[in-house]
Symmetry: C2
């Protein structure tokens, strides 16, 4: 059911410093910051040859990243995103196996303009898992 690892997302306390580190110290291909007000984040995608790293920085007062950074002041891996062909089929299969979908259970449009859902970390070995329909 799951396909490619679309990205791994890292919450960072200093977006400019993180971009500089990935660009200059790690020599990676770092994109431009994009504000995603619907998700309360500013994101920067780092293009690796086979997948992406998504740097996440809080945007606005109600950003879901703010609480994460309060608990993890130096930052940390926030979630991982697997691609699926049909997000509703995937959701229903997961629910049938007892896995919990976060929020309303209806897909939202994610940072790539595609439908996404998040799954409960306690059902996935402590990992916040995003599914993205591609």
């Amino acid at each position: 059911m799951i396909g490619r690892l679309n990205h791994i997302a890292i919450a960072v306390p200093d977006l400019e410093a993180a971009c500089d580190q990935y660009r200059n110290t790690l020599g990676a291909n770092v994109g431009a910051p994009q504000d995603e007000p619907d998700h309360g984040v500013t994101v920067v995608f780092i293009e690796l040859p086979n997948t992406k790293v998504e740097l996440l920085y809080p945007l606005g007062e109600d950003s879901p990243i703010r609480g994460f950074l309060d608990k993890n002041p130096v930052g940390g891996i926030h979630h991982m995103c697997y691609e699926v062909n049909d997000i509703l089929v995937a959701r229903d299969r997961l629910k049938a196996d007892g896995m919990r979908v976060l929020g309303t259970g209806e897909p939202k449009i994610g940072a790539h303009g595609k439908p996404v859902l998040f799954l409960h970390p306690k059902d996935f070995n402590g990992c916040l898992v995003e599914l993205e329909q591609v």
Copy 2:
């Protein structure tokens, strides 16, 4: 400098349950468990089309995963691994930029039989970063 994301590693409290979930609920290609006594872990690789997920389970009394699971009883993302062409060149460039290499600073042979190093999470937005020479 960094190339592909070689894998993302997840520490799990129940290896059999995690394998079963990835195989049957998520429909992924799950390998056989391999004991790595030199690293104090049993690993299972899950082959995605573009990268791997590495499930980590403690092996032996001194496993480095045991403390992580004590702090994170349901499990969690433990590290991410970037590929590099020359691990000594990469190490020296990182050190020149003030980044800390864990342990002796000399590469060890990792689960894939290739030289690996780990970098200090506090220098990488709270992420434990492994470099693997490919």
